[in-house]
């Protein structure tokens, strides 16, 4: 009896879209409640799946170890001499994707909560939001490369509109930049997908397939094909497999984002409306990290090992560069955007270390950064909603005016900079420990990378505390003077209701990280073993 | 006997004159005259060639036909010109240009 929970989770928002589309525009409120209700359902579903998820489900390369699997043959087209086109609807979760599904449903729910006051074209807005919801869920669950690509591209479209229509002053520029930049990466990914398709055969049917799990098994490659490990073709002077890895890596690295491919992020985050920033920072960046783990590392583990040093270097550069640039910002939202770049650098460093601690730390950091950055952007949004100004130098001494808000901000800032007791600490500590360990375990990353990475901890303390001191403490002095004082009401019940679970979750995971680690351990071990054996 | 060629040349001359008259005269009646001349040139040709048909005198019979037809054509043409003159107030074919593009 297969309750098809995963399919239900993915396509529930689609039902919501249909519902919203058919309700006349007069009843604006209905859209919000439908979205909210969908969000709740998804949360319950994914929470239930998380709870039911068996910790031994390592997955990664073995189809039998994936859970909640739905494998339905979708397109079987006989193309004559080109063979049989085989695209399946193949979804499943393992330890890597399960936490992200839960994170997605949580962040989406929070985004709906943050969208409560959208006035312009609410119907279109919520339809696009639900499509995005579906696409992101699909990305994390898809195990067929073509299906993955469909969902991946499907993510971009609603975001373009959501940023471009409901965004800030330079929204068209930001939306265009984001869309084209990400598309640039994924277009080349399509080439590699096709290349892989022609290189891999399904052991059961003998036809070429897009099934990712088959691509992970070197035995499935037809000898002499482009990406076969044995043949070791060369394209443009470098090994074909390495080229494939690099192209795929670039596509996901744009999403992570790494320095120097990060410049879309500040513009997109700043110009997007608050709920979209929450989704961007909370989930979309994780798609990049997840893609690297699931696709680049699992399909091209040999190339991954070759490039580990460079990956580590990129990670360290991202950490330090992102933190330094964040220090120099004058716009609060931009500062938080750059802090996201810095924190995702930790993820890359952890992944590059190829140790269990590092990889597990990286996944944990992704999860923790998900709701912490959502919390951060939500707080910025709260301030912006009131006075429509985010400039750090325009505010002083907010603690006396908005005490509860200050408490939230202080807790979130300290949680983000890695104070123990919160989840970010665990993630960052284990990334650094893993990176350190890398030299003794597999000799991949030199120790100085880990030390440079730990500089990031210092710098994040610097810019967060500076902002905290600058904006919240001291005597109150606002650019807008009296007018602003009146507009700056403290946190409303809705906002408190949204902030408390996020911070509570950060605290819970910080105190009891086993909640997450138990689920991801088996997969991380399997992944590390897969890469280590090459 | 007069060689055939002479008749033919005369016929050609007549035809040419008739052609010229049709093409270059500014009076419709004169255009008719030209047409008549061309027809008569053809009739002359016919008669010239009838010398070789002593049994049926086909050429001469055909010539008689042609004369009648010419007369009929002239009658009709004159009627048209008269009507056209009533409408356009001019017999100059240059003035009738309504079918110009």
């Amino acid at each position: 009896m297969n309750p098809h929970l995963l399919t239900l989770l993915i396509f529930l928002p689609l039902a919501a879209v249909l519902l919203i589309a058919f309700i006349p525009a007069a009843k604006k409120n209905a859209y919000r409640y439908i979205a909210l209700f969908t969000g709740f359902l998804q949360l319950i579903l994914s929470g239930g799946m998380y709870y039911l998820f068996h910790p031994k489900g390592a997955g990664v390369t073995d189809a039998r170890l994936y859970q909640f699997v739905d494998h339905i043959p979708w397109i079987r087209l006989d193309m004559g001499s080109l063979g049989q086109l085989e695209i399946d609807y193949f979804v499943g979760v393992d330890g890597l994707s399960m936490p992200f599904l839960f994170l997605t449903s949580l962040i989406m729910l929070i985004a709906v909560g943050a969208s409560w006051n959208i006035q312009k074209s609410t119907k279109g807005y919520f339809i696009l939001l639900m499509i995005l919801n579906m696409a992101v869920m699909g990305v994390f669950a898809a195990l067929d490369f073509f299906l993955f690509y469909i969902f991946y591209e499907l993510m971009l479209l609603p975001l373009y509109f959501l940023i471009g229509i409901w965004g800030g002053a330079r929204r068209e520029y930001a939306a265009m930049k984001f869309f084209l930049y990400t598309l640039f990466g994924s277009v080349f990914m399509l080439l590699i997908i096709v290349g892989l398709y022609f290189s891999v055969t399904n052991p059961e049917t003998g036809a070429h397939t897009f099934n990712m799990l088959h691509m992970m098994n070197p035995a499935n490659y037809t000898p002499g094909s482009v990406f076969s490990a044995a043949a070791n073709h060369e394209l443009l002077g470098i090994s074909a497999r390495l080229l494939g890895f690099i192209v795929l890596f670039v596509a996901f690295a744009i999403k992570v984002p790494i320095v120097p491919l990060h410049t879309w992020l500040p513009d997109a985050h700043v110009e997007a409306p608050t709920p979209i920033s929450i989704i961007l920072a909370g989930i979309l960046l994780k798609v990049g990290g997840y893609g690297i783990l699931r696709i680049c590392f699992s399909i091209f583990p040999d190339a991954a090992q070759q490039s580990a040093w460079w990956l580590g270097l990129i990670g360290v550069v991202s950490i330090v560069y992102g933190a330094l640039v964040a220090l120099a910002q004058r716009d609060l939202k931009r500062m938080i955007a750059y802090s996201s770049v810095s924190h995702m650098g930790f993820v890359l460093l952890g992944i590059a270390s190829f140790t269990t601690e590092g990889t597990a730390g990286a996944v944990f950091q992704m999860i923790s950064h998900g709701f912490l950055s959502a919390a951060l952007f939500f707080l910025v949004g709260m301030l912006y909603d009131r006075v429509h100004d985010r400039h750090i130098y325009h505010f002083r001494g907010l603690a006396s005016i908005m005490p509860r808000f200050t408490v939230f901000v202080a807790i979130t800032f300290f949680a983000s900079l890695g104070l123990p007791g919160f989840s970010a600490f665990i993630g960052e500590v284990f990334v650094i420990i893993g990176a350190f360990n890398a030299e003794s375990v597999n000799g991949i990353l030199p120790r100085w990378m880990a030390i440079a990475g730990s500089l990031g901890i210092l710098l994040s303390a610097a810019y967060f505390l500076w902002t905290l001191q600058r904006m919240f403490f001291g005597q109150p002095r606002l650019k807008g003077g009296e007018e602003w004082s009146k507009m700056l009401v403290d946190a409303s019940p809705r906002e408190t209701f949204i902030m408390v679970p996020m911070l509570g979750l950060a605290l819970t995971l910080g105190i009891y990280p086993a909640l997450a680690f138990d689920k991801i351990n088996a997969s991380v071990l399997a992944l590390v073993e897969l890469v280590g054996n090459n | 006997m007069i060689p055939l060629t002479h008749f033919l040349i005369v016929g050609a001359c007549l035809f040419a004159i008739g052609l010229y008259t049709v093409m270059a005269r500014r009076n419709a009646i004169l255009v008719l005259v030209g047409i008549e001349l061309m027809i008569n040139a053809a009739i002359l040709n016919l008669v010239a060639f009838s010398r070789y048909d002593k049994t049926a005198y086909g050429g001469q019979a055909f010539a008689l036909f042609a004369i009648v037809l010419a007369a009929a054509a002239v009658a009709v043409a004159l009627a048209i010109i008269l009507n056209a003159y009533k409408f356009y107030k001019s017999v100059n074919p240059e003035d009738i240009r309504n079918l110009k593009d």
């Binding site: 120097p260 030299e439 901890i457 001291g474 | -």
Partner: protein, 649 residues
């Protein structure tokens, strides 16, 4: 340990209603009782080690555990014992402050973290408590958050502490990668598993952590600024406990340090002790003097560890905790009264400036007594606990130096000099504050200063009693009987004793103290100050070695400028590349558009034009002219005939 945490949670939950601090105080009282009980059970007994599984990464399990051995229970009792009087004192000191409920919350959080630190059995847990202690310190230093100076101070404190945290983290990572575990016990028992260069690095890394937390030179700059917090906070955190955390860490993982690292520790400790004492000589703010005194004494403790005698260091830590806490509490009482006077009489003065005080002995006799005892303990006068620990330290240093070579031999002499400086500055403090006449009287004639309230005095007197010798040893003059040290001594740390020194040093220091007392009396009480006020050395001391300015110029400004530079790079170069690419794309698009419009479309249009042109030409045929039609007709027939004739021929 969990009780203060419960206290913290309860205070946070109760919010404003926890104003009287009963929750926090009762929590700490219960903790103290529990600590004493544990002490009684564990002291000189085999240690207890309990672990609970916390989480697993991959296949490595991490635990939360409690390790109770002599060191741990001693610290437990010490921390709770100091915290309890401070709690009681705070109730009076902070009375009327609008944010007092926050104060109790933060104080309980701090106690929780500190107690957790001392009983933690693995490095990860220790690090967590270490950072939480720093966080609580941040909250408490910036307690009066509307004061700019306070806010700058707590930011500075946290960031400098973070530098140390990086060190701790690196040490931790090194340990993990070589030992595979973070248990301190495992680390103590088998430090040799770390290969040689990494062992030194790890030792230095851990020391870096301790340097920041225990305010060693040059990472001490946060401590004087931390005096912006309430005085009771300064007494608990920045005198007795948090700053001791660094020393505790080093003592706990002592077997990790090899000879190089130990030498480094001793050297830096000495430098710290000297520099801080030097700076303390000319400070005017009463709390600053005490802050530098703390730094200096911490330097002493570090030297104690550096020479290998960590039990002595811990012993000094214990005695220092008592008298320094007392010093701060007295200072707090004085400041409280001066503040009161300021408000009552409308004066414009800094209540912490000792130049405004004087002759307080007559007005606050009990405070004076307590402070006198504490000062004597600090200076190392006989019959106090401080005497025992400090002189033990100096003696052992001489013993150690005898085995060393080179510059290391200087260390004990420097320490002796420092203790002379110590006597000087503390007696200067006493003289200026308690003797002579009240300088603010010169402004207004009828100022009356009151004695401190009982709630403040009680704890102060209690601590004064603890500073005296009976707590530590039966024999006031000889350190071999100190039962605390006997409990802590480990086989690692023994040095061949030099009998003579055990007598010579105490005599020397005591003698110097008396001389200094006389000098101080002469200079400060009688006003005969021989040295010029603005001399170079004086100014160097007063401005704390210009270290803050140095840091600002050498570290802070460059970092800020670097970040702005990178921002520029990011905006113009990297983003410029992206925008440049888009501009390139757009220019390509413009070229393509031009090509499309002119060339491609041009061809299409050309075809159209040709068609039109041809049509135009043929249109001429339709001119409505009859004769023209006729001519054309004839012409074409002629052409056809000719064609036929020509072809058929």
């Amino acid at each position: 340990m969990l009780l203060p945490f419960a206290g913290f949670l309860l205070s946070a939950a109760l919010g404003k209603r926890a104003g009287n601090g009963a929750v926090a105080t009762s929590a700490i009282l219960l903790s103290l009782l529990a600590a004493c009980y544990a002490f009684a059970q564990i002291w000189n007994q085999p240690p207890i080690h309990i672990q609970w599984h916390w989480f697993t990464i991959g296949e490595q399990a991490f635990h939360v555990g409690v390790l109770l051995d002599n060191m741990a229970v001693m610290m437990l009792v010490l921390v709770s014992l100091i915290a309890l009087p401070v709690h009681i004192y705070s109730a009076a000191y902070m009375k009327g402050d609008p944010g007092i409920h926050r104060y109790w919350t933060y104080l309980s959080l701090f106690c929780f973290a500190m107690l957790g630190l001392v009983v933690a059995d693995n490095l990860l847990l220790m690090y967590i408590c270490w950072e939480l202690v720093g966080f609580a310190s941040y909250l408490l230093i910036g307690f009066w958050f509307t004061k700019d100076a306070a806010v700058q101070a707590n930011k500075k404190a946290f960031i400098v502490n973070r530098i140390g945290d990086i060190g701790f983290l690196i040490g931790m990572a090194l340990t993990y990668s070589h030992l595979g575990t973070l248990d301190t016990k495992a680390l103590i028992e088998a430090p040799e598993t770390l290969p040689a260069p990494w062992l030194t690095v790890a030792g230095l890394a851990f020391f870096l952590g301790a340097m920041a937390k225990s305010a060693q030179f040059p990472l001490h700059v946060w401590l004087p600024d931390a005096m912006e917090g309430p005085t009771s906070v300064s007494s608990l955190i920045h005198a007795a406990t948090m700053v001791a955390a660094g020393v505790f860490l080093l003592a706990r993982i002592f077997p990790v340090f090899d000879a190089t690292v130990l030498l480094v520790i001793a050297t830096i400790g000495t430098v710290t002790a000297f520099a801080a004492a030097y700076f303390a000589l000319t400070q005017y703010d009463i709390k600053n003097i005490l802050a530098f005194s703390t730094i200096s004494q911490l330097g002493f403790m570090m030297v104690g560890i550096g020479i290998g005698m960590y039990p002595v260091a811990l012993f000094h830590l214990a005695t220092h905790a008592f008298f320094k806490c007392l010093l701060f509490l007295c200072a707090g009482a004085i400041i409280h009264e001066m503040q009161h006077a300021k408000e009552t009489y409308g004066l414009d003065m800094d209540p912490q400036d000792i130049r405004n005080m004087g002759g307080l002995r007559k007005h606050m006799p009990l405070t004076f007594t307590a402070m006198l005892i504490a000062s004597l303990a600090l200076a190392g006068f006989p019959f106090t606990g401080g005497y025992l620990s400090k002189d033990a330290l100096i003696v052992h240093t001489f013993e150690w130096a005898a085995l060393q070579s080179g510059a290391a031999k200087l260390i004990p002499y420097v320490l002796v000099a420092v203790s002379m400086l110590t006597s000087f500055y503390i007696l200067r403090l006493l003289a200026k504050v308690f003797f002579g006449s009240l300088s603010i009287r010169s402004v207004k004639k009828d100022i009356r200063i009151h004695e401190a309230p009982m709630r403040m005095l009680g704890p102060m007197l209690f601590l004064a009693g603890c500073s005296l010798f009976p707590l530590f040893s039966v024999n006031p003059l000889n350190d071999s009987y100190v039962w605390l040290m006997q409990g802590l001594t480990s086989p690692v740390s023994t040095l061949p004793p030099l009998r003579l020194l055990h007598l010579a040093i105490p005599v020397l220091t005591t003698g110097v103290t008396c001389i200094v007392a006389g000098v101080a009396w002469q200079w400060y009480v009688n006003g005969k100050y021989p040295l010029k006020g603005g001399g170079k050395f004086y100014r160097l001391s007063e401005h704390q070695g210009y270290l803050d300015a140095l840091y600002d110029a050498a570290v802070v400004r460059p970092v800020v400028r670097l970040s702005q530079l990178l921002l520029w790079v990011d905006h113009y170069i990297i983003d410029g590349m992206v925008n440049g690419l888009s501009a390139l794309g757009r220019s390509f698009a413009a070229v393509a558009a031009w090509v499309d419009q002119r060339l491609v479309d041009g061809i299409v249009r050309l075809i159209g034009k040709i068609a039109w042109g041809l049509g135009n030409v043929f249109r001429r045929l339709q001119n409505g002219r009859l004769q023209h039609y006729f001519a054309t007709l004839f012409f074409i027939i002629l052409v056809i005939l000719l064609y036929h004739i020509v072809v058929l021929l």
